[in-house]
Symmetry: C2
Subunit: 457 residues, 2 copies
């Protein structure tokens, strides 16, 4: 059967669009795993019809299919086995249309996020989804994982940015829901089935996404705070005063800040003595008023004793250097082993939660560390656990980080998804009835289980 599938696929969409094992092995498994990629065949469809043909062929043969975007996901969500057909959307990477009046773009799933951002920017508008992996991740992957990132506070996750989409079902049926309106209540909103379901219910091929005015002003502050109550109070103040022009509010715990500004080599713009650091930004389109407003709120925060110290970048270079502290954590990833997490929890529980897991880690691994940063306003933290001893400690670390979420209604995945890595923990964040309904949806939409088998459920 193996040869027959490859042969059928070659006939269906062309020899040049099908790679076999030897060629596949020249690719890395993912951003996180440089081992040679494995797979029976890798299909490179050029349009939706070819995606449909590949899925129809595989469905008829009961052949498993692993769909791939930019391979940056952090939960082993697109890792094929020798027996899988890989479906890569990399040839479907166009920004098809930008509609300024309708404030939308039509894009192919394989388009790289940064490319979409750039093309939209050239048209004088803004596509606000933004995350560290922007240079590699694709819109299709962003949609399949309901990507979040640094602008969720203002613009929501990508679920809120998708007006319409096209997906191909497991049996090759093309489901086109390319709605262009902000409002459309004509029947069930089927696109939701494909957003955040990690490619297990269908393959996203195109999307209509919302665009926004491109802000012309951007004000950034990097501030130090002495306790978590102040972090919360600062967030409340900024939300009130800056309203929705507040576009980012990112927290760094002291240990994270110290590590990336010492071992990590980033210049430290503030003394490392403070328990918490926050970088926040506002955006707008009125140079004079926006600056006045930003300065006013910063002054108020000082006057109210919320902030202990602050740095305001005076140039794009200085701003980028601050963002590097938050976004460039390569130095932490060099710890061996290191486990990166993506949890969400009520904001009011964050300080206690981080103290708890740090305590747990120290109790287990005396030299262990837990470096934490994240998106406070979204309830989303990213702890990095470094045992600092040569252990195969992932399962232990998972338990130390995830168990304390149970009592406070937290989630084991804020934005990264479940993939293969977090399957064992899904039932901590979701009830039996919920998991049962997920399984029902999966078996209804993909009765043979050919799409991304072994993922999520």
């Amino acid at each position: 059967m193996m040869d027959s599938i490859i042969k059928t696929l070659r006939q269906a969409i062309g020899d040049e669009a099908i790679l076999e094992a030897a060629d596949i092995a020249e690719r890395a498994t993912s951003y996180w795993d440089s081992a040679p990629m494995r797979g029976k065949a890798l299909a490179l469809p050029r349009n939706t019809d070819e995606v449909a043909t590949v899925l129809q062929t595989c469905h008829a043969a009961g052949q498993s299919v692993v769909t791939q975007g930019g391979l940056t996901n952090a939960v082993t969500a697109a890792k094929p086995n020798d027996d899988d057909v890989i479906l890569s959307l990399e040839k479907m990477n166009r920004v098809i249309e930008i509609d300024a009046i309708g404030s939308l773009a039509v894009v192919e799933a394989g388009a790289v996020l940064q490319n979409v951002q750039d093309v939209v920017d050239e048209a004088g508008l803004r596509f606000p989804l933004d995350l560290g992996a922007r240079g590699s991740c694709t819109i299709g992957g962003n949609i399949a994982t309901n990507a979040g990132g640094i602008n969720v506070l203002r613009y929501g996750m990508i679920r809120d940015l998708v007006l319409g989409l096209e997906a191909v079902l497991a049996d090759g049926t093309v489901l086109s829901s390319m709605n262009r309106m902000l409002k459309n209540n004509a029947g069930y909103d089927l696109k939701q089935l494909f957003i955040g379901t990690e490619g297990t219910l269908g393959v996203v091929t195109r999307a209509v996404v919302r665009l926004f005015p491109r802000p012309s002003t951007r004000h950034t502050a990097f501030v130090a705070l002495d306790d978590f109550e102040h972090v919360q109070a600062l967030l409340v103040l900024l939300r009130e005063q800056l309203a929705d022009s507040l576009s980012a509010f990112e927290i760094l715990w002291q240990d994270y800040y110290r590590f990336v500004t010492t071992v990590g080599g980033h210049r430290a713009p503030l003394s490392p003595e403070h328990p918490f650091y926050v970088v926040f930004e506002s955006e707008g389109n009125d140079a004079a008023l926006d600056e006045q407003r930003f300065t006013h709120v910063l002054t108020t925060a000082f006057d109210n004793g919320l902030i202990d110290d602050a740095v305001i970048p005076k140039s794009d270079n200085e701003r980028n250097a601050i963002w590097e502290i938050r976004e460039n954590f390569e130095s932490i990833l060099e710890c061996d082993p290191v486990y990166l997490y993506d949890v969400s929890l009520p904001v009011g529980e964050m300080a206690t939660y981080v103290d708890t897991i740090k305590g747990n880690i120290k109790a287990r691994w005396p030299n262990g560390e837990c470096y934490t940063m994240g998106h406070v306003a979204d309830g989303n933290l990213h702890p990095f656990v470094c045992p600092n001893e040569p252990v195969d400690g992932k399962a232990i670390s998972d338990a130390l980080v995830y168990e304390p979420l149970r009592a406070i209604g937290g989630s084991v995945s804020a934005e990264h998804g479940i993939g293969m890595d977090k399957k064992d923990w899904l039932d901590q964040s979701r009830s039996d009835a919920e998991v049962a309904l997920m399984r029902t949806l999966k078996s209804t939409l993909d009765p043979q289980g050919i799409l991304n088998p072994g993922q999520v459920l």
Copy 2:
């Protein structure tokens, strides 16, 4: 079997929680239809367990169930027959919790929207969903129909405001997804199955909804414009300059404005000679800066020739009088017959579309009129068709209004839903593959078809 169901329900949740036909008939069918309500029994559960019991009982007996909220929907979506059990959530009307730090409220499905708004306001926060039916409609109904309203531009439809929800499936299974975080990608986002599906896949019983800072400033303008290009350009300008503080941008066509300020008796703050009128608002929390910003953008709009005339209300009374022009269209509803629509379409197509349907109506009914207003920024218009002759013209009017949407990718329902009224037109806005998948979901989640039978599909 009829008696047996009533008896079983009485035993299960108490005599006082079950009304029978005579008592049911004392209620009006809906806000739009004063005929006595019909139904076999009306259940008034006091909590989720009782909802589950009612559904379990009805499921076991193959008994149809029509779920009711505030009965304000405009698409005949909650109208029972003599054979239906009615499930009213009116006893489940509490605001259970307001969490200021988490910026969320936990509410029961039967809570009346205005009551939720008021309770949240007393807590110093804001629940931004707002629509004309606020005094009667319920959160459960808002969720089931994915309600929009006048603040969608800034805050989105209720889909964007629901963090978590609890629903009871057709067989009585309680599905609790009461997530409190902005981000939670742990598995499929099941709540989407119950938002905008008009009670056909489950009954919403509770929800966690997002709250926002309560703005302390509000600036309103009522302006006249000479062509639709200017309406679009004004929207672009306001979006750029006011960013997300722009909270409303509502359009009135001249014929709508003339009718409600003459027959309708509203005072006309601007001369009725202009083709278009727009009411727009911004909200913020800085009295001095917000006023400066608003005045500045209004001046720019004048200087750029976008606006021909403007009125700025000087008091809450004046502001309310302007909003009455937009929201109080009782005088149009007194036309007999009158057909109210809720379409969405690309903004760039609006002017031509409205001209087209007005032409169609005049061609069919020489004295006929089409009064149009709506939410431009959301792509959503509400035309009112008055044949001005004694005809049973709904089917004809539907065709005149809906047919022209086909070529421009519009939707027959922007926010009201499909209900029973628009079923025949669903396939105009959605493809065969989409409708087939909706049917698959319906038969998977409600295999006996007991929930709101005959609605949507």
